[in-house]
């Protein structure tokens, strides 16, 4: 078994010269007796966009959630932005400040207005003055193209609008890394595009992104690297062009034939 963690840095051209923002080395995780993550090795450089795909239950969410410690790994090392994730609360807090996350179910706070959703963490975590936090919030609402919804409650918005608010909420913390866990799979088709447009814009500005998604068009447009997971392990990784045109692993081919069939 090759140790990918040692072999990787030299191999990937995107990463040469760039500081690794996320580094996962031989990460294992179990749910009880169930081995969900097996020997995960992954390096994400600054500004790099990694798209993770794989069949349902393959551990994509679990892996991405280990990066900001929503799940705890039991073996191996995870280093984010130069800080190693241990059970040290200081480290976890520091990492969560640098890492934004967007969920499939939006998870907006229903009891707060859109503006309050956006300013909550900047005020309490970044300790920004309220006025400044609100200015930032309005700026990002403008960016996700819903400035007029600032004073509404999440329950009054459409799914696509909610997801864009969720993205803006993460951006308000000025994160260096954004994690997306199937951000569009709870949306109606006509709303997917408005969310993807925001994400593409974000990518083009140089944000480091790890994105679990089955939107292959998005992957081709902005992805630097495709990662294919199956049964808790990373089976294959390659730049999108190569990944789609010429998958090396049998399992990847099977998966691609299934999702590209329609």
């Amino acid at each position: 078994m090759s140790n990918a963690a040692e072999a990787m840095p030299g191999k990937a051209p995107v990463q040469s010269g760039a500081r690794a923002m996320i580094e996962m080395q031989a990460v294992h995780k179990w749910y009880g007796e169930f081995h969900v993550l097996k020997d995960i090795n992954l390096i994400v450089g600054r500004g790099e966009k990694v798209v993770v795909c794989g069949p349902s239950g393959s551990g994509k969410s679990t892996m991405i959630r280990c990066i900001n410690r929503l799940e705890e790994h039991q073996q191996g090392r995870i280093i984010v932005s130069g800080i190693e994730l241990t059970s040290d609360l200081k480290h976890i807090e520091a990492i969560r400040r640098e890492v934004g996350m967007v969920f499939q179910q939006f998870n907006l706070f229903p009891h707060l207005t859109v503006l309050e959703n956006l300013t909550l963490a900047p005020i309490w975590v970044r300790k920004l003055p309220k006025k400044e936090a609100e200015e930032t919030a309005r700026y990002y609402l403008e960016r996700v193209r819903i400035p007029e919804q600032a004073d509404k409650y999440p329950g009054q918005l459409s799914g696509g609008q909610q997801q864009r608010v969720a993205i803006a909420r993460s951006l308000c913390m000025k994160p260096e890394i954004m994690l997306f866990d199937e951000p569009t799979s709870a949306l109606d088709p006509e709303m997917i595009k408005e969310v993807l447009d925001v994400m593409i814009e974000l990518a083009q500005e140089g944000m480091t992104m790890v994105c679990v998604t089955h939107e292959m068009g998005f992957a081709r447009t902005v992805g630097d690297m495709m990662v294919f997971m199956d049964r808790g392990e990373i089976v294959e990784r390659a730049p999108p062009a190569e990944f789609f045109a010429n998958p090396k692993s049998e399992r990847t081919r099977l998966f691609l034939s299934q999702i590209l069939a329609h």
Partner: protein, 396 residues
């Protein structure tokens, strides 16, 4: 009726009157009201006849007469020479007193147990579950009798009283607690406490403003707590720390000094708190479970600390689910306090019961009890509606 006929004339396609749903509705209501009125009239007639036959007075005149029965425990001055009206007042005060203390304690116990049941600590969660499942499945009347028996019969006499804490005595005469001696310092401490509240509020406002301008947080909560504890403490020290307590002491066959709770009051309070606590625990648990885990995850992902997550995200949402059933639990605790009559604590119902037995004026007695409870219910549901309106989540 005239316009009805007119309508029929204007529109020739109207059905016959007995098929017209609107007319049928009106006819039905008239019959319905007539039947109800007839029943009420019949009962009222019988009642007046029966009352006259049995020579029972009617009206609330009896309230001004001398009650001539003693009441064991009373918050307001009372003697058997006082009027029935005053006796009622004593009962009402006792009901409100035990309910108020019961509500506070049941809320604390229930909240702790509800949270404990959600704890990741297996042992703690199991213990809380056992508490809830046991005490909610046993009738309150039985629990009251049990606690009462425990306090009266199983507890030793005053000479061998249990002493769970120094100065606290549990015997078959009741529960005794030490009270501090009267001292002007205590009054000033209360004043200091009130002032501390005022200052804390000002600090809170100032902290909010400073946060909005500079972003710097100020631990207003902790400072407020420190003030509320510290200022009275300073006054206490300044008065030369008058620590003298009035300890309950054994004199002959009973205790003197301190403050005493009768076994009846103790049993009623313990029973109400333990029983209602189980329901509150379930309400708290359900309320917190109603906030999806995704909310907590989103808060964590934003970097909020566990305390902030609870205070800013989980609690505000859980409270919306918790408060409505909680108020109805408070209401039912207040109503359940009427079970005091079983163990002879003089609450409103048991005093009304005595009154009814003495005067025979059952109709008036029951009307008074009902009126009191209805007023309490109405007040609580009024509060509920106001609250619901103020926190209702805005949905599409």
């Amino acid at each position: 009726m005239a316009s009805e006929t007119a309508a029929i004339v204007v529109r020739p396609s109207r059905p016959a009157p007995w098929r017209d749903p609107r007319l049928r509705g009106i006819a039905l209501q008239v019959v319905f009201v007539a039947v109800i009125a007839a029943i009420i009239g019949f009962l009222a007639y019988n009642t007046t006849v029966n009352l006259r036959r049995q020579n029972i007075a009617t009206g609330f005149g009896f309230l001004d007469r001398e009650a001539a029965f003693g009441i064991g425990e009373s918050l307001i001055a009372y003697s058997p020479a006082d009027t029935y009206a005053r006796a009622f007042l004593v009962g009402l005060a006792n009901t409100l007193y035990v309910s108020a203390i019961g509500i506070v304690l049941a809320t604390i116990l229930g909240t702790v147990m509800g949270l404990a049941r959600l704890s990741r600590n297996w042992l703690v969660a199991k213990l809380a579950a056992i508490y809830v499942e046991t005490f909610r499945n046993i009738p309150l009347a039985l629990q009251l009798l049990f606690w009462w028996a425990l306090l009266r019969e199983v507890a030793p006499g005053p000479r061998q009283a249990w002493q769970p804490l120094p100065g606290v005595f549990v015997s078959n005469r009741g529960i005794l607690l030490p009270v501090p001696h009267q001292d002007p310092a205590y009054l000033w401490m209360a004043v200091a406490f009130a002032i501390a509240f005022g200052i804390a509020y000002a600090v809170f406002r100032w902290a909010r403003r400073r946060q909005a301008e500079t972003g710097r947080q100020f631990p207003a909560g902790w400072v407020g707590l420190a003030l509320a504890l510290g200022l009275p403490l300073i006054v206490f020290v300044a008065h030369g720390m008058p620590l003298e307590m009035e300890w309950p002491v054994l004199r002959g066959f009973n205790f003197a000094g301190g403050t005493a709770f009768s076994p009846e009051f103790g049993a009623l309070l313990i029973g109400l708190v333990v029983y209602t606590g189980t329901f509150i625990a379930e309400i708290v648990r359900a309320g917190i479970l109603a906030v999806s885990w995704g909310q907590s995850e989103a808060a964590m992902a934003l970097g909020l600390r566990p305390g902030q997550r609870m205070r800013l995200v989980v609690l505000p949402q859980a409270l919306r689910v918790i408060i409505p059933p909680m108020t109805s639990e408070y209401l039912s605790l207040t109503k359940n306090s009427s079970l005091a009559v079983i163990i002879g604590y003089p609450d409103l119902v048991s005093i009304a019961n005595t009154t009814m037995n003495q005067t025979g004026q059952a109709v008036e007695g029951i009307a008074m009890i009902m009126a009191v409870y209805l007023v309490i219910s109405l007040l609580i549901s009024l509060f509920m509606n106001l609250y619901n309106r103020s926190v209702a989540l805005v949905e599409r």
